[in-house]
């Protein structure tokens, strides 16, 4: 069992000045898994990624990546991993080609030797290989950064918020690439603030305020949703929200996209009761829409439990 885990994190604690960035985090990532760490800014994602990739030391706890204790042997793990930090961190005044060649030679290899490994990605930016990195679009920069992180054929890839601030088209292309890398057997850890990217991962950890709320497959997280959820569609969102807030059975009421979601304990609020209540409140022009909870609903529920607890 041990050797099937690519990453083992146990009771990780990291504190900056007065902020507890990580509060006893534990998780395992299996070999060949595409693992997502999902949470808002300040949840502790970056600290976790930096510790796992040996760039930061934890205050306490254990981190084992590919069988290496990264708090001690940082030199060995750095040869075997690819790492992409949160913001674009390549040389803006070097061209695509120069950046890739530089990183290839840092890892004692060449672009030619590894061309097959990154061909799929590199071919998309190759036509611009003479262009300076600073002049590339957001999506192209991400692809270049990924090429540089992959040029030495790492066994494990750490991607810290690779899709933040990138437009939707480039985001979907980027995930296609990750799926392809996963097929080749690479272990990939990726962090993101976008809840909708959870469904693209094999397993996800939902993170908030230095804690892990839940770790599981996206499907299991949503089926484990412990409440009943109803969506209401209306044009009078503000009035609807105000009046639902006064409904006793509703544990949570929040806008969700074009709808309003009403969360209640299972069996406590039927559609009939809701309809009756809203009619009594004098609400018009609304309808109840069938929805299944998605990761974001789960995240909100888990956060709410945590605050209550």
């Amino acid at each position: 069992m041990e050797n099937q885990n690519a990453v083992i994190v146990k009771n990780l604690v990291k504190t900056y000045a007065h902020v507890e960035a990580l509060k006893e985090i534990s998780l395992n990532v299996k070999k060949g898994e595409l693992f997502g760490v999902i949470g808002p800014d300040g949840a502790g994602k970056t600290s976790l990624f930096r510790i796992m990739s040996s760039l930061l030391l934890p205050d306490s706890g254990e981190v084992n990546v590919l069988g290496i204790d990264v708090t001690r042997d940082y030199a060995s793990i750095r040869k075997k991993m690819g790492y992409m930090p949160g913001r674009f961190s390549l040389y803006q005044d070097l061209s695509i080609e120069e950046n890739i060649n530089l990183f290839a030679s840092i890892y004692d290899t060449t672009l030619e030797e590894n061309y097959e490994n990154i061909r799929y990605i590199y071919s998309q930016i190759e036509p611009f290989r003479k262009r300076r990195a600073g002049a590339l679009s957001g999506g192209m920069k991400q692809k270049l950064a990924l090429c540089c992180a992959l040029v030495h054929s790492p066994e494990i890839l750490f991607l810290d918020e690779p899709t933040t601030g990138v437009d939707a088209v480039s985001r979907s292309e980027f995930w296609e690439i990750l799926q392809m890398l996963k097929k080749r057997g690479m272990t990939i850890l990726v962090s993101t603030p976008y809840m909708d990217e959870a469904s693209l991962c094999d397993r996800v950890a939902l993170m908030q305020d230095g804690r892990i709320l839940s770790v599981d497959t996206p499907a299991k997280i949503t089926t484990a949703y412990a409440y009943s959820l109803v969506a209401i569609k209306t044009n009078e969102k503000y009035n609807m929200l105000s009046s639902l807030r006064m409904l006793e059975q509703a544990t949570l009421v929040y806008p969700f996209g074009e709808n309003i979601h009403v969360v209640s304990d299972k069996g406590k609020l039927t559609s009939e009761e809701l309809t009756k209540y809203l009619s009594a409140q004098g609400m018009e022009n609304w309808e109840i829409v069938e929805v299944a909870p998605d990761i974001e609903d789960c995240f909100i529920a888990l956060m709410n439990q945590h605050v209550a607890a």
Binding site: L55, D93, S105
Partner: protein, 368 residues
Amino acid sequence: MKRLTSLIRKEFYHIFRDKRTLLILFGMPVVQILLFGYAITNEIKDAHIAILDQSHDEVSRRLADKLVASGYFLPDGQAESIDDVEQLFREGRIKMAVVVEPDFADKLQHEGKASVQLLADATDPNMANTLVNYATAIIQNFQLELNQPGQPPILVGAEVRLQYNPSLKGVFLFVPGLITILLMLVSAMMTSISIAREKETGTMEVLLASPMNPGQVIIAKVVPYFSLAFLDAVVVLLLGRYVFGVPIMGSVPLLLAEIMLFIIMALSLGILISTVAQTQQTALLLSLMGLMLPTILLSGFIFPIENMPLPLQIISHIIPARWFIVIEKAIMLKGVGIAYFWKETLILIGFTVFFIGMSIKKFNVRLG
């Protein structure tokens, strides 16, 4: 090795692709030496002085004429007594007063020596120093004229200070100072900014995540700036030599070797700064406040150390540039060898070892 060369190549790309860096590296030395050479020299012309001749004999009058004839000085105001001189100083009309003691010719003839007092307005210590030096040189010259072969020597008392710069040219003194500042700027400041830039843009994070040895990162940073700083020093020396005629009296290889030593010292200082500074702005501020200002103000380049108040004189001991300027002047203007400045050289080596040691201690293989 291939790693290192490709990192060094990358460093050169950064330098040659950034216009501002290029301007500082190559525009600055030329502009500065021309500025200092032509405009901001301490050379004087028509400085207002007063001559208080308490002797009124033929010799004293000849001395006064000689001072005026030099073209450097312009007598202004009538001074009949020391009080008058004082008054003229207060009114700001004169920068220096030459006071010839009573019975000047008489004393020279019978005692073989007489003295001339030079009073200078020390609110501008630089100017005062230069004026006194000029005047002393002229008096010394005058003394030579008075001495006749076969007769007992005659001595006109006045302190002589400009023995190493007999032609009284300010630019001679500026070239060593300028080289010092440029080396400090290119080596310490540019290196620290360049390393801080990698931290700021996050590229350092990516380099740290690679199997790159931190030592290699630093060496790759240092090599280009070492060569460029050296090139700058040579440019200034050549400009000084061929535009302003500043000689190098001593050994050129020795001078270049000392320059290299100073560059290495400055580079290690730059690296030390960059281990503390997380952003380019901090690196720039630290270099400017911590390095450039002390180098300019306390090294003896502009303000003579002996004129400083005691606390500043003590502080000047920890300014590496102070020692380097002594070495440069010794080689370039005095033409002496290592025997005369091995102590200063050792001090520079000491600084270098200290800064490198501190940098190694402070350098982090992780982030923060």
